[in-house]
């Protein structure tokens, strides 16, 4: 039981970080019908921007973090939208997908070439250490990771549901034509979605990199997990992506502990195939939201 609790919690902790990437992925999908195959690299890169601030520019950590965050939003939000997605027009289709695949190669190779191919330690922003709950050893970092990620998603949901801008963003994503007529600045709302995605990716990056070290290839598996979480949750809904991310984190940990270590990565994949074939609208989505 104690072990189960431990496994569950650390699963939730990683899962919540997957969820951040998945939520961002869904936002961009909703706003621009763009499937971003570089999403994993979007989570890999911000950590390296921080490392650049720290090691190349010799800035203190807080400045480096700020620098990394700002640059991420500029590159992965603004530049991504303007230079990669926008030229394809409203329905990018396969060419846009190919372009994001190329972008993922570009980001990976750029980091490998200009920063290095070795795994780099990344400063932990959260205290290490453990505490005991009923026999279970709980990592403080896990708990704080989970809380931080949940807080971010909660804030995002509040923003989307309660503020005027948030509601305009939703309107722009659901029906750009009608939103435009009602006076919503659709182009601006789309841009916000991209900026938010970049911010979420940066937060995910800062939370997950201390656990796994910073490496140029980190995005390969992360990107796939983000897709899986988003699709399982229903592709175009925020809460779905959150649940999808948590579910994968937990399942992954449970399989690794109780079933098989060597095939731990198989379960999410099988789940993905099953969901796509039998419930393409996602576990939480409803029939109308189906977009095949």
């Amino acid at each position: 039981m104690a072990q189960f609790l431990q496994v569950l919690l650390s699963g939730l902790a990683t899962g919540s970080i997957y969820a951040l990437a998945a939520v961002g992925f869904s936002l961009v999908w909703q706003a621009a019908q763009a499937v971003n195959f570089a999403q994993g690299e979007f989570v890999m890169l911000p950590a390296f921007l921080v490392l650049i601030g720290e090691h190349w520019l010799h800035w203190p950590l807080w400045a480096a973090l700020l620098f990394g965050f700002a640059l991420s939003i500029l590159l992965l939000g603004l530049a991504f939208k303007r230079l990669i997605v926008q030229p394809f027009g409203p329905d990018g289709g396969l060419p846009l997908v190919i372009a994001t695949m190329a972008l993922s190669i570009l980001l990976k190779e750029a980091v490998k070439t200009f920063y290095g191919a070795e795994a780099e330690p990344f400063p932990s922003l959260l205290p290490n250490g453990t505490f005991h709950v009923g026999g279970a050893v709980v990592s403080v970092r896990d708990v704080l990771n989970l809380l931080a990620a949940l807080a971010v998603v909660l804030l995002l949901t509040l923003f989307l549901d309660r503020t005027k801008t948030g509601r305009q963003m939703q309107a722009a994503a659901q029906n750009p034509g009608v939103a435009e007529i009602l006076g919503v600045d659709v182009a601006r709302m789309t841009l916000y979605a991209f900026l938010l995605n970049a911010a979420l990716a940066a937060v995910a990056s800062f939370l997950i990199t201390p656990v796994y070290l910073a490496k140029f290839s980190n995005g390969e598996s992360l990107g796939i997990v983000a897709f899986i979480a988003a699709i399982i949750g229903g592709f175009n809904r925020i809460r779905g992506a959150l649940v999808g991310g948590l579910l994968i984190g937990v399942l992954d940990n449970l399989t690794a502990t109780y079933v098989t270590l060597s095939y731990r990565a198989a379960l999410p994949l099988v789940l993905l195939i099953a969901v796509i074939l039998w419930r393409p609208q996602g576990l939480l989505g409803d029939e109308e939201a189906r977009i095949v």
């Binding site: 499937v35 190919i98 372009a99 070439t113 994949l269 796509i276 393409p280």
Partner: protein
């Protein structure tokens, strides 16, 4: 007229390919072999995606299935032809099965299903040591022997690869030139209409996957004796994505597209003498630009350039 020009072009290229490695080192022959090997796999993907319009991000796993089958059979001292046949048939059958999801979902969803399949294949290859050698992989595969002739020399193996690739191209050419080719395109353009005109959409979709995958298997049957070492990492999702890029860069649904696309990915960096890392970055930027300007790929671009002066001439006349 156009057919003639194409025939002459092909003859010139084949002649060039025959003399290309002469007087060069083993490395050049090896490089040409890997290009032809990838071209075969990309041709198969082009049938599935370019002609039939069904995306697959699993082509690398079919190269893997072909390569493992060939390795296992030849390491057990059976002839290469048997290993190749086992690999190709296996890929045909597995490809057929992978086609079933394509009957239900399209586009991004199909991309993710096939991508997940590729990841699962990778896990199996890594974990089933008894069959695949796990992370250590398999090595020491013998090169095929044709009658009394051994292809263990790099040059001999190159000609062997060239012959296989040409044969594969001819067969594919016959397929896409037959009424099947038109049916594949009709399937891509408008499935509902095609079915209302009598096309058995289900069977043709499955065949598009099966044949495309079998080409992946054939490529694997070349890769095993070429590299003489295979491990799961050679057949992961990244490899599938890079095959997809080759097909798209060359030109989707263009018969020679995959040959050109794989040349750009494999041969061009050598010709330009830039290091792999820089080349990959330039390549990625070029792909993004190409996609925004000309989604039809390099052959589409060439067609557009060829058509432009003609239109101007036409305008001058009228």
């Amino acid at each position: 007229m156009r057919g003639h020009r194409e025939a002459i072009g092909v003859a010139v290229v084949v002649a060039a390919l025959i003399v290309a490695p002469l007087g060069q080192g083993n490395y050049i022959a090896y490089l040409l072999c890997s290009w032809l090997m990838l071209a075969i796999a990309a041709m198969g993907l082009n049938l599935t995606l370019g002609y039939a319009g069904r995306i697959s991000l699993a082509q690398a796993s079919f190269i893997g299935i072909g390569a493992y089958a060939t390795s296992i059979v030849t390491l057990a001292h059976y002839p290469w032809v048997l290993g190749m046949a086992v690999g190709v048939v296996l890929c045909f059958v597995v490809g057929l099965l992978l086609g079933f999801p394509a009957l239900r979902v399209r586009g991004h969803y199909l991309a993710f299903v096939t991508l997940a399949f590729n990841s699962l294949f990778f896990l199996v290859a890594r974990n089933e040591d008894w069959l695949t050698g796990g992370t250590y992989g398999l090595s020491g595969m013998p090169r095929p022997r044709i009658g009394p002739v051994s292809t263990s020399g790099q040059l001999a193996f190159y000609y062997f690869t060239l012959a296989v690739a040409l044969l594969a191209a001819v067969v594919l050419r016959l397929i896409v030139r037959s009424p099947w080719g038109r049916a594949f395109k009709a399937l891509r353009e408008n499935e509902v209409r095609a079915e209302s005109l009598g096309l058995d959409v289900r069977r043709l979709t499955l065949l598009a996957f099966a044949i495309g995958s079998a080409y992946g298997g054939l490529a694997g049957a070349i890769e095993a004796p070429l590299v003489q070492y295979i491990d799961p990492g050679s057949f992961d999702v990244v490899q599938s994505l890079s095959l997809l890029l080759m097909v798209v860069v060359g030109g989707l649904g263009e018969f020679w597209g995959p040959v050109l696309g794989s040349a750009v990915a494999v041969l061009l960096p050598e010709a330009l003498r830039v290091t792999a890392a820089y080349y990959l970055m330039l390549y990625a930027i070029a792909v993004i630009l190409l996609m925004t300007r000309c989604p039809g790929g390099l052959i589409g671009l060439a067609r557009r350039i060829a058509a432009r002066p003609a239109r101007r001439r036409g305008a001058a006349v009228s």
